[in-house]
Amino acid sequence: MSNRRRHTNSVPASKLVILFFAAIVIGSVALSYVYYKHQTFRTGGEIKQLEREIAALKNQSEVMYSRITSMTSHPELERKRRDGIIQLEELAMVNIVKLNNATPVLEGDDIRVVSNLGMNP
């Protein structure tokens, strides 16, 4: 028996556990790194796509703005008026409403014009 026991290999369970966890940690870190890298590239691609779209929208907006400006420029409007595409309509005075200036907001000790109407006995 003693001879047989002497030839039995003992299993170092604790070391195996440590190695197992170490492998898991290293594997996880490696996978995370790969995942992170992948995400970085994917986000980069999305950023690029967004940049393209923004640039295209900005360009389209600018093209539209320049076209609108050209179509509403003074010479163009004058041409359209001459060609009868648009016409000027005279406004009768009765249709013009003139708004009074807003009462200015005074601050501090500024003197304000007031009405004494109705205050006198």
Partner: protein, 599 residues
Amino acid sequence: MKSVPKVRIWIASSFFLICFFFASWRLVHLQITKHEHFAGLAANMHGSPQTLPARRGAILDVRGEPLAMNEPLKNIIADASLIKAGSEVRLAAMLSPVVGLSVQQLLEKFATGKKYIPLCKKVDEATACELQVALASGTLRGITFEQDARRIYPNGNMLCHVLGFLGMPEAAGKSDTPPHVQGVQGIEKTMEDYLRGYDGFFFTERDRKGQEIVAYRQMEKPARDGYNVRLTVDMALQSIVESELDAAVKQYNPTAAIIILMDPKTGSILAMGNRPSFDPNALLEAKDEQMKNRAIIDMVEPGSTFKIVTAAAALNEKTATLDSTVFCNNGSFAYGGRTLRDHHGFGNLTVEDVLAKSSNIGSAKLAMGLGDLRLYEYVRRFGFGERTGVFLPGEINGTVHPPHKWSKISITRIPMGHEVAVTPLQIATAMCVIANGGKLMMPRIIDSVTDAEGNVVQQFDPIEIRRVIEPETAAQIAQALKKVVSKQGTAILAKVPGFDVAGKTGTAQKVDPKGGYTPGKYVVSFLGYMPVENPRFVGLVMLDDAKASSGLNYGGLIAAPIFRQIAEKAARHFNLEPQPEEPDSKTILTKSDPPKKRR
């Protein structure tokens, strides 16, 4: 026997130690000392700098209406190293109708293997977008689109001399860097530093398909778009001026015509028009003569409009009052061996009437009362003989000779606007002195510089150069100029119903470049402002060699009615309320009114 292995061990150890030391030293040298050098080499091999183009700023009128702006365009570039083998023909067939090259020509270009092959420039945005989509759907690669832009001027000829245009700098091609278009005339030139913006850049790496790897971007510096420049010009007024210029050219066919409107209180230029003109959108068709901004680069003898300076000087120096009488020698005054004549034989005239009737002899006598030095001093104080400082390129000084260069008769000729050469803008600025109570204001054409969000980067406030005359003197001259635009004066045709107008006519014989004057050719002008009590604008109308019959070629008959047309429309624009006219001051113009004599 034991000592031999020990020695060998020592030798071997030392050898390996020395090798290890050198290897370590080399690594440290490569990784630390030479880090930047090798990092740069690596970046050059895998990465490339990418330019972020800046947009040029816009030019706006005082209300924000765009006068010069950009239309985005694309340049189509091929990178032959990225084109997939076997796809060349398909790619060439797709590109051919867009870039205007045959399939064969495109294939020859691809065969060069170059990384940068410009195929087509200035392709419009919509076409470029369609092509991009088609390339993506056909999984074709090797084509890139560079951002570019075209400068457009939506109003064509209007305000063209002020706005200017873009072009290649003169030094283009001499330096290694690719040339950028830049302003070569007008506001485009003077405000180049504000308008141009600064390109940004970033370093990036690309994969084997030529696609950018965004994660490896480095040293990103965003582009700074050019600032917008807001002018003091009001396009509503400019439109009025341009239509009157067109009408004047049609009616009189002058060699040149100039109209300037200014705000006398701030010196702001509200409108500035010239004929002949050009379309900055079609520069190749424009001739040099059409590109001149004559308001600042043409010298003219101002003629009778210059009498304002003489009268103002005399009143300010108190050598005369408005009611002082001047004997006008019945129309013929011999001085310095020459005879100075008036168009009418006047006897005694008040100073007010000297201006109203535009007497040459009266003006000469006022100047003689002042003396050479004081007259010269006032001419200079009114801003003649020096640049006004307006933010436009190519402005000239004009010519005002100092008294020691004057001839004996200069004192009688300069007061009526001879022997001096001035620019139209100088004349208009001088009238602003009368209209604003005696201050010489610097003509101002830039209101402010703003960024893309509309935040003011720089404000260009009005600048008072100097006080020229006292406010009382200015008021007296204004009173006399009001009389000019009446039945007693020379410019009744400038009268605007319901408003008091002050002004002065001018009719000067054209100077012959060979010397003397060209017979039968005149520069006619009218310089005025309105309303007299609270002037909103000063206007100058000047026509060079108007084709009118000799009996009608006068400032009061040609330029004054043009001023009136402009003033009427401008009054509506400014919402000025006309005042009911007094019955005795009502003016009835009939065809039977005799034409005024030359003034």
